[in-house]
């Protein structure tokens, strides 16, 4: 039976007020095997109308498999899926949509050169004969956006929208097919602070519309903010389903990982040495950064944070030669590497790598790693010109192999071999591989751009551990992050950036998550009332 929003009301009235008694979706003893080995084991799951049901667990716990089964991407090996207490067989993604199940996955599925409304109606047949009814479409689009309280013009081009807005258009698109169930898979992955808040407001609206929402996230804070119930998965088994307001973050983590994560943030003592990086009056050619002054000393972690699009990352990228500069002076150690007035410009990735700087980008798939290549090839790529990897023209494969043995031990790759292709290892391992580029060469200054984005909690702790090791060895870290708890707990000094300018510098004991939040909230206020 097809459930839509039209008969949601009917379902709701049949049962008692408050929570609807009959679940929209029920999984009974669902199992899934691939080649005979289980990926999901006898799982039970229920979703009610107007409920946000969160899924929590580390990578490979079975969340993706579960979503595949619900969205019709694959079929269960055993067990039943019930929609409105009727057993259904979801044959395909298309069939799932017909049944009232709509999904928004991590990948962007919009067509950037088309407008919002064109994207909203892409794939739905709303034409008479050959021609689109443009006027009617505009009206429908307006209605959908209004209903979601989403302030956007239907004729805007999607490519001009922010990440958050694109994500919200995607949700609007899924919402437009009038689903009863929506699956949201890590919708906040590429978003930060304020953008996330906007998205949450939209999810609240969906909830009020009576839609049952399955929400997958790595971030416990989101789960507590949004969800009514949470199911924790581990190794393909359902560990527990809890009411969110009767559980705690520590409990959730213990359910998901089987152990507590002690000292999540390591204490890293600063031992400031001589000045490594000195940026003076930096202006970028694209004007995203104006008159920035920033210093990094040896042996310290300097945090740079701000709202999305603040320009924090742009400063770092400029120092590595990835953003053209307009004016200013950059000094590394005692060398002026950029000085507009003197005509010095020696900032390129190669030159900065050779000086001992390593920039690790936020988007590891797009910029950081060669996904088709092995762990070994990725780690040595930026260091192949060093004597341990090559003599002149020739690669020393034996030298490379020796180095890798050491690296895989330090990375705790366990049974994973360094010959594994990155496509086939978990996101967390990929992130660690990127950091390991710093193992094989002498790095004095790491620039880490959102180093823990989209990784599970276990890996996150490991990455912080690595940062501690780097610092203990005398290196310093310029940490660009929109995760305030990360910045607050790790940094010795913090710069807050807003609209391409440094607003505040906080150091030492003044750094705390609340103080950072306070500063950033004030920026938010300024944003709302422009001069």
């Amino acid at each position: 039976m097809k459930i839509t929003q039209n008969n949601l009301q009917a379902i709701a009235t049949k049962s008692s007020p408050g929570r609807v008694d009959q679940p929209l979706l029920r999984l009974r003893g669902i199992s899934k095997h691939f080649f005979g080995s289980p990926a999901l084991h006898e799982m039970d799951f229920e979703l009610y109308a107007g409920e946000v049901h969160a899924l929590f667990g580390e990578n490979g716990a079975g969340k993706s498999t579960l979503l595949q089964l619900i969205t019709g991407d694959s079929q269960p090996s055993q067990g039943n899926i019930l929609i409105n207490d009727e057993v259904v067989k979801i044959k395909s993604v298309h069939h799932a949509k017909d049944l009232g199940i709509s999904a928004v996955f991590q990948e962007y599925t919009l067509v950037p050169p088309l407008t919002v409304e064109e994207n909203l109606f892409l794939g739905s047949n709303l034409s008479t004969g050959m021609f689109l009814q443009k006027k009617q479409l505009r009206q429908w689009a307006r209605q959908t956006l209004d209903r979601l309280k989403f302030d956007l013009k239907p004729d805007q081009l999607v490519m001009h929208l922010s990440h958050a807005q694109q994500r919200m258009v995607e949700i609007a698109k899924a919402f437009h097919s009038r689903p009863a169930i929506m699956v949201l898979d890590e919708p906040t992955a590429a978003l930060s602070g304020r953008e996330t808040t906007q998205l949450f407001a939209m999810i609240d609206v969906l909830k009020h519309e009576g839609i049952g929402i399955i929400y997958v996230s790595h971030r416990t804070s989101e789960i507590f903010r949004l969800s009514d119930r949470v199911s924790v998965l581990r190794d393909g088994h359902l560990v527990t389903t809890q009411d969110t307001n009767t559980t705690t973050e520590d409990q959730l983590i213990e359910f998901a990982f089987g152990h507590r994560i002690d000292s999540f943030f390591p204490t890293i003592t600063a031992q400031p040495g001589r000045q490594l990086l000195d940026v003076k009056d930096l202006n970028l050619a694209n004007s995203l950064v104006q008159n920035v002054n920033l210093t990094v000393n040896a042996g310290e972690i300097v945090g740079v944070t701000g709202l999305a699009g603040s320009g924090a990352a742009d400063i770092a990228r400029a120092c590595f030669g990835l953003n053209p500069m307009k004016s200013g002076v950059i000094t590394y150690l005692d060398d002026q590497v950029y000085n507009k007035d003197l005509g010095i410009n020696d900032v390129t990735p190669r030159a900065m790598l050779d000086r001992g700087m390593l920039y690790l980008p936020a988007d590891r798939r797009a910029e950081g790693l060669v996904m088709d290549h092995s762990v070994r090839q990725n780690i040595s790529l930026s260091s192949l010109n060093l004597a341990k990897f090559s003599t002149g023209f020739w690669v020393r494969r034996k030298g490379e192999k020796n180095v890798m043995e050491n690296v895989s031990r330090r990375l705790k790759l366990n049974q994973l071999s360094v010959e594994n292709v990155l496509h086939h290892v978990s996101g967390g391992t990929q992130q660690k591989v990127m950091l390991a580029k710093g193992f094989v060469r002498d790095v004095q200054l790491f620039i880490l751009d959102e180093p823990t984005i989209g990784v599970d909690i276990d890996t996150r702790a490991e990455i912080y551990q690595l940062m501690q090791e780097f610092c203990a060895a005398g290196a310093s870290i310029l940490l660009i992050s929109s995760d305030l708890s990360e910045v607050a707990n790790l940094s010795h000094r913090v710069y807050i950036i807003h609209r391409g300018q440094i607003q505040t510098e906080i150091s030492g004991k003044d750094i705390s998550e609340t103080s950072l939040k306070h500063h950033i909230d004030q920026l938010d206020l300024h944003e709302v009332s422009p001069p």
């Binding site: 005979g36 950081g368 790529l381 930026s382």
Partner: protein, 357 residues
């Protein structure tokens, strides 16, 4: 986690007879073989079996040597194509490179040879001129792609027209004779210990390419550039330089093939090589070189090229019309791409299973 065998079937399955278990084991083995080796071993096995059964002559030593001999040209060009495809490019100008090299080398040889003696100077200088003109085309391709960011497809397609036009204007479309006979006698038809000279030229070329791709820094960089251009740039690699090198080295290998073909035909012709763009791309695709760049093994490309020649030979023996042969080659290319896509999907499922264990 290596691909040794698929995970065992779970114990609580319904009881199976030994027969069905045996069957599923074989099936598993075949799936693993497919995931590991790709489509090529299957193509080869089917072709050898099919042609071997239909014609006794097919598997004779003479015929196999003939196949190897004819495959050398395509192997050289396919290696060149592979180098470009690894950088996420495509070289549609390999055909006209062959034509141009043939024309310039034979014109030079004809002009230099007095008509007496062995004429080895004429052969040497003619070959060098041919290779230089070919390398020039590759260099222009590389500069266009690396510096001016012309999409490789357009750059090499455009150059095809430019170069073909030049080659035709040099010859007015007429075959060029007058090369020293020693050129054809040695490089076209010569043998050494019963092994044809083209094979003797090609073998070290394969070795050189292997070393270039696997043991030099530039080789590694070329793989990285095709795998992820941005990541390569952020790793401090001079991507423009590497791209130009890739296109130029590729054109040199094509040039060697062109000289061997010219020697075999004993004439310089401006209409040579038209089938090579498709054949070389097909050889790479069958050999598992990714169209997205960054992935591909030299040994498989060499086998892929040999396979295509083997198919052509087999079809000739079966007296299949050359028009139908074109149909078969094109269909094989498309099949190879589809098979590769399926392999990737199987691999993904397989790895998901291995990871969840």
């Amino acid at each position: 986690m290596t691909l040794h065998s698929l995970p065992p079937t779970q114990p609580n399955q319904p009881k199976t007879t030994t027969e069905t278990r045996y069957m599923s084991k074989i099936l598993n083995f075949l799936v693993v073989l497919y995931i590991k080796g790709g489509v090529l071993p299957w193509f080869l096995a089917i072709a050898v079996l099919g042609f071997g059964l239909s014609s006794e002559y097919f598997l004779s030593q003479t015929n196999l040597m003939g196949i190897a001999m004819h495959a050398t040209y395509l192997i050289l060009v396919a290696m060149a194509q592979m180098l470009v495809m690894l950088t996420a490019g495509l070289d549609l100008s390999v055909g006209v490179m062959i034509a141009m090299t043939s024309v310039t080398s034979s014109l030079t040889m004809g002009a230099m040879w007095s008509g007496h003696g062995s004429g080895w100077e004429a052969v040497l200088i003619g070959s060098v001129v041919g290779l230089c003109s070919c390398a020039g085309i590759g260099l222009v391709n590389g500069i266009g792609v690396a510096w001016f960011r012309v999409p490789p497809f357009i750059m090499t397609f455009g150059m095809s027209s430019v170069v073909l036009g030049l080659a035709l204007s040099l010859t007015s479309g007429i075959p060029i004779y007058g090369m020293p006979p020693s050129f054809a006698n040695i490089f076209g038809y010569g043998t050494w210990f019963d092994i044809p000279v083209p094979i003797l030229v090609t073998l070290p070329c394969i070795g050189l390419m292997y070393i270039f791709l696997n043991w030099t820094r530039i080789g590694r960089y070329i793989y990285a550039i095709g795998g992820n251009l941005r990541a390569a740039q952020l790793s401090g690699i001079n991507t423009k330089f590497c791209l130009i090198i890739a296109y130029t080295v590729a054109s040199l290998f094509t040039g060697i093939a062109a000289l061997l073909i010219t020697a075999r035909l004993e004439t310089g012709e401006s209409n040579l090589g038209a089938s090579y763009p498709l054949l070389s791309i097909a050889a790479c695709a069958i050999g598992g070189v990714s169209l997205q760049g960054g992935v591909g093994k030299l040994s498989n490309v060499v086998l892929g090229a040999a396979f295509l020649i083997l198919i052509q030979n087999g079809m000739n023996l079966m007296r299949i019309n050359s028009y139908y042969q074109m149909v078969v080659i094109g269909a094989l290319l498309i099949t190879a791409i589809i098979a590769e896509y399926l392999r990737q999907r199987l691999l993904k499922t397989y790895v998901t299973v291995a990871k969840s264990k």
